[in-house]
């Protein structure tokens, strides 16, 4: 199941809508890294609210996205990690070190508006 990516001003917003296979997550990574260049985006938000599990593969791949997007000159914010998912990640020892996380989409947009040196009225 492909993740829709919405272009909103200088940002890309990817909203995960169901459980994803490893191939889906890799496809999302590649699409975001490519579209950051195509649309000259300043920021990327990945909304994982609907993700059932953040295992080592999902965590590692989302961390890769953030680092690759940063190398392309933009910032990534992961939003919507659910309490149970956060609990499981901590139990497993999975971290998203060096990756910005925010509570929800609103907080994520607010963060990018403050930090990406662009105004939303572009």
């Amino acid at each position: 199941m492909q993740v829709p990516i919405l272009k909103q001003g200088p940002y890309l917003i990817a909203t995960i809508q169901s459980a994803l296979t490893d191939a889906d997550i890799v496809q999302l990574r590649d699409a975001l890294v490519e579209q950051v260049g195509r649309y000259r985006s300043r920021g990327v938000i990945i909304d994982v609210t609907a993700l059932d599990v953040m295992d080592s593969f999902a965590t590692g791949t989302l961390r890769d996205v953030a680092h690759m997007v940063r190398l392309r000159g933009a910032e990534t914010v992961i939003v919507g990690i659910q309490p149970d998912v956060a609990f499981a990640m901590v139990h497993m020892g999975l971290t998203l070190e060096g990756v910005t996380t925010k509570l929800d989409l609103e907080e994520g947009l607010d963060h990018l508006n403050r930090h990406s040196r662009v105004t939303t009225s572009q």
Partner: protein, 138 residues
């Protein structure tokens, strides 16, 4: 508390990455029916996801069986991940954080051990790998 006797074992063949998702979803559903809280069902689903991926990654195919268990007054779930792959040559190292022969994070097996209450692994070169884990309702 629900009686686990009426609940049937779930068995999922693992041969593609869609099967990883299927195994963990069926595992979560069974855990909830057994009486686990949603938080613990997520821990169990995460462990199943790691075990299923290991099957795919190292053995190409195998099976995940999930069933309700009882011990005295306690109720829980057992997950058995079994494959006929090449087996693990160095088991102690495979259980170390950050050790991986696949270039990944290397948190799979040690992570599964931390997520569950009981952990057993049998493996050796040419023998395939069987991982059996249990979690009890707190």
């Amino acid at each position: 508390m629900k009686t686990p006797a009426v609940l049937e074992e779930v068995s999922v063949a693992v041969a593609s990455d869609a099967d990883i998702v299927s195994a963990r979803m069926q595992g979560r559903a069974l855990a909830l029916r057994i009486g686990f809280r949603p938080t613990d069902a997520t821990l169990i689903a995460t462990a199943i996801s790691e075990l299923a991926r290991n099957i795919l990654l190292y053995a190409a195919s195998g099976e995940i069986a999930i069933r309700p268990i009882e011990r005295g007054e306690r109720t829980g779930v057992a997950v058995v991940a079994q494959d006929r792959g090449p087996g693990i040559a160095d088991l102690p190292r495979a259980m170390e954080d950050g050790y991986s022969t696949s270039g990944r994070l290397g948190l799979g097996l040690p992570g599964v051990r931390r997520l569950m209450d009981e952990f057993e692994i049998r493996s050796g070169p040419g023998q395939g790998t069987t991982v059996k884990v249990k979690k009890w309702i707190a």
